[in-house]
């Protein structure tokens, strides 16, 4: 037998050993947390989401109720191909019943499609695109936490109403950025504001100085950041250097997370205005959760995405228990029928298009002097009630919504 032969056989044997975690019984609810574990969204989702999912399972008392639940996770590296590959593998070969989180709209859309084809379940916390409850809506998907429409509506409306009526957009040049800019511009115009200019920057730009110059020259009161992650924090940091805030202009972060503020530091981030659906320091229940969460997550406090994962998994388990089954389509339908209630978002509902509805909040970052403790970063500027926070049901082009 030639060496090539042996090599080939050995490789074959190695591969037959099968993919990582094996399991097969169907008395098991298997939850897959799929998100970015290593790159620009790792802190705002990443391992924190896995922790949140685990806490949800424990707090729900799955073990006591005789429900066997297993949680696995993987890193999609912000790539649609990696993400969809993992999703496919999980559903086909590893009997995963539900996929949770998935930040990055491109990956989420791909996973949405794959979940639908296989009749499984998909609970989105991380991704932003409002298409998930619009054009791409699916009977197998529920979109939790937030979406681009809510962000645009929340931040845009509130800012214009509180005096920020001239805008300049700094937009990441890809679909998500375009959508966010488009939605926010519509809102600004609708509320009587004006858009004085826009500039598009490549994704992952390290240096915003030239774009900030243009923003300054426009003399717009508000510089809208239609981007996320490193782009947002870089723009803000460099904005501080160029004296944007001192010069009387304000940044409107259209997608900002607690961990971004933490990374920037209050000195730089102060005055930033944005919309989120959850803040750990809102009430006693959220504070209690945050304390337990931080202990398990290296001291990092929960972002709204982590909170969304917790709430979604909790509600999912309730539906599974009620149905005594984990068939994806059926569970999602059941989840839509049941009103939600959890310590983090309070009471809420899920619409037929898969949109989870709850209040959104307009926050402003505190000045360093106003912050009394680590992670004490936000002050509440306004609350947007649930009925107004999300795109009206009939405007989404969702085929699941009967006209």
């Amino acid at each position: 037998m030639s060496l090539t032969c042996i090599l080939v056989v050995l490789t074959a044997l190695g591969l037959t050993a099968g993919p990582a975690s094996a399991q097969i019984s169907d008395g098991l609810v298997k939850i897959g947390v799929l998100n970015d574990q290593s790159s620009l969204y790792a802190d705002l989702t990443g391992q924190g989401s896995v922790v949140a999912a685990r806490m949800a399972v424990e707090d729900y008392g799955a073990a006591q109720k005789g429900l066997k639940v297993e949680i696995i996770f993987a890193d999609h590296q912000n790539k649609a191909d990696v993400g969809s590959n993992i999703a496919r593998q999980w559903f086909d070969a590893e009997k995963v019943d539900v996929i949770v989180d998935v930040p990055n709209s491109a990956v989420a859309l791909a996973v949405n499609q794959i979940t639908r084809e296989r009749g499984k379940a998909f609970l989105v916390s991380g991704a932003a695109t409002s298409d998930l409850t619009g054009k791409a809506c699916s009977p197998n998907t529920i979109h939790w936490t937030y979406d681009t429409w809510a962000l645009a509506n929340g931040t845009g409306t509130a800012i214009v109403k509180t005096g920020g009526d001239t805008w300049f957009f700094l937009t990441a040049d890809y679909a998500f950025g375009h959508a966010l800019e488009r939605d926010t511009e519509a809102v600004v115009l609708k509320n009587g504001g004006k858009v004085l200019g826009k500039v598009r920057h490549p994704l992952n730009t390290a240096d915003f100085s030239s774009f900030l110059l243009q923003a300054q020259a426009s003399k717009a009161k508000i510089i809208g950041l239609a981007n996320a992650g490193g782009d947002t924090t870089n723009a803000i940091k460099q904005g501080a250097e160029f004296g944007i805030v001192r010069g009387g202009q304000n940044f409107a972060g259209l997608l900002v997370f607690l961990t971004d503020v933490h990374g920037l530091g209050l000195q730089t981030a102060q005055g930033l205005i944005f919309t989120e659906s959850f803040y750990w320091d809102s009430n006693d229940k959220t504070r209690a959760f945050a304390k337990r969460f931080a202990e398990r997550n290296r001291g990092i406090h929960p972002t709204m995405i982590h909170a969304g994962v917790y709430a979604a998994v909790t509600h999912y388990l309730k539906a599974v228990e009620a149905l005594k089954a984990d068939d994806g389509t059926k569970v999602i339908t059941r989840m839509k029928e049941m009103p939600t209630d959890d310590p983090l978002f309070g009471k809420g509902t899920i619409r037929p298009d898969g949109r989870k509805v709850h209040a959104m909040y307009l926050f402003e970052v505190k000045k360093p002097a106003e912050s009394k403790a680590p992670w004490d970063y936000y002050k509440l500027r306004a609350t947007i009630p649930a009925e107004q926070a999300f795109r009206p049901l009939d405007q989404g082009d969702c085929t699941l919504v009967k006209k």
């Binding site: 060496l3 090539t4 037959t16 070969a93 491109a106 499609q113």
Partner: protein
């Protein structure tokens, strides 16, 4: 790679134009393995290995037999993927036509890039290919039909030749296997043909080949176009397998990955790139849980291979067998 240094280490393909017996055996074994494997291993994983295997072989053709290291081969893989995805989804073409379109475009792109790049060699050639690949990447980011970061999603697999519904994994798998085998046979035939002989002569001593009357640039260009087209074939097929075409496939890190696969498998060998691709795909699969570790391991493999393992897996095996593989 320039003559002399590296090829003293790499394998010397057979001097005659007939097919060596042991290579036939290896080929048959490989096909047998891939035919049996989907019954034990998740087919989509294997299809990924096959597509990357074809891509790596196409790349390997250029470096192993022409001696040119292209640092921009992802451009061909990725653009073909986009064209195939678009043709299948938006124009509704059947899979074989969609893939053919992707392949043809990649070949055309290869002609343009190759015509401009062939004049250089060595590090300068790598630079030019990288420059063009970057331009193509940014073109793909901007142009509307690729949908930028979202990529082209939900690409229908269609029905092959109106007979075989490719939506089942098994059917798709065997279609991909057929494409892979066809591609490999084409490469093999090219190497063991008069054309291949001239290429080898050019690689060994270009001035001499020119003095013998061969238009070296034309041969190199043709090899480049072939390499680009086959990369496109791999890319188009991949787009249908995963029903997705994305920026990942045109990014420069993909170009780096294919270099790694070929290096790991064995530069200048026939089966090396396939083995390298299989190993890399397996590694990525098992390390997927560990995120950043994939990059670290890939880097470490690069380092180890360059320092101590330049012949690659198949190269070492071939050396032990004392036969070219």
């Amino acid at each position: 790679m320039s003559t002399g240094d590296t090829h003293a280490e790499a394998q010397e393909p057979a001097a005659t134009a007939t097919v060596p017996h042991h290579q036939v055996v290896a080929f048959v074994l490989m096909v047998a393995f891939f035919t049996a494997a989907p019954f034990f291993v998740y087919p989509v994983f294997l299809m990924k290995a096959l597509c990357f295997g074809l891509f790596a072989c196409a790349f390997g053709l250029l470096i192993g037999y022409v001696g040119l290291l292209s640092f921009g081969h992802a451009a061909f893989l990725g653009t073909a993927g986009y064209v195939t995805a678009h043709a299948a989804k938006v124009w509704g073409w059947s899979p074989e036509l969609a893939i053919a379109a992707g392949t043809a475009l990649a070949g055309a792109l290869g002609l343009v890039v190759g015509a401009l790049a062939i004049r250089s060699r060595g590090i300068y050639f790598a630079n030019i290919t990288l420059a063009f690949a970057q331009m193509i990447y940014f073109f793909c980011v901007q142009v509307p039909f690729t949908h930028g970061e979202d990529g082209i999603q939900a690409v229908p697999r269609g029905t092959l030749l109106g007979l075989l519904d490719l939506h089942t994994e098994t059917a798709m798998y065997f279609a991909v296997l057929a494409i892979f085998v066809a591609g490999l046979l084409l490469i093999y035939r090219t190497i063991h043909s008069p054309f291949g002989q001239v290429l080898k002569a050019i690689r060994e001593n270009e001035p001499r080949a020119i003095s013998l009357g061969y238009r070296a640039d034309r041969y190199k260009l043709l090899a480049f176009v072939l390499s680009a087209a086959l990369s496109g074939l791999a890319g188009g097929t991949k787009a249908l397998v995963f029903q997705l075409a994305s920026l990942t496939d045109v990014h420069w890190t993909m170009s780096g990955e294919v270099v790694l696969m070929t290096l790991l498998g064995g530069l200048g060998t026939v089966f090396g790139p396939v083995v390298g691709a299989l190993i890399m795909v397996t590694l990525e699969h098992y390390l997927a849980q560990l995120g950043a570790w994939i990059t670290i391991v890939q880097g470490a493999i690069f380092v180890v291979c360059v320092l101590t393992f330049r012949r690659g897996v198949v190269g070492e095996v071939a050396r032990l067998l004392k036969k070219p593989l």
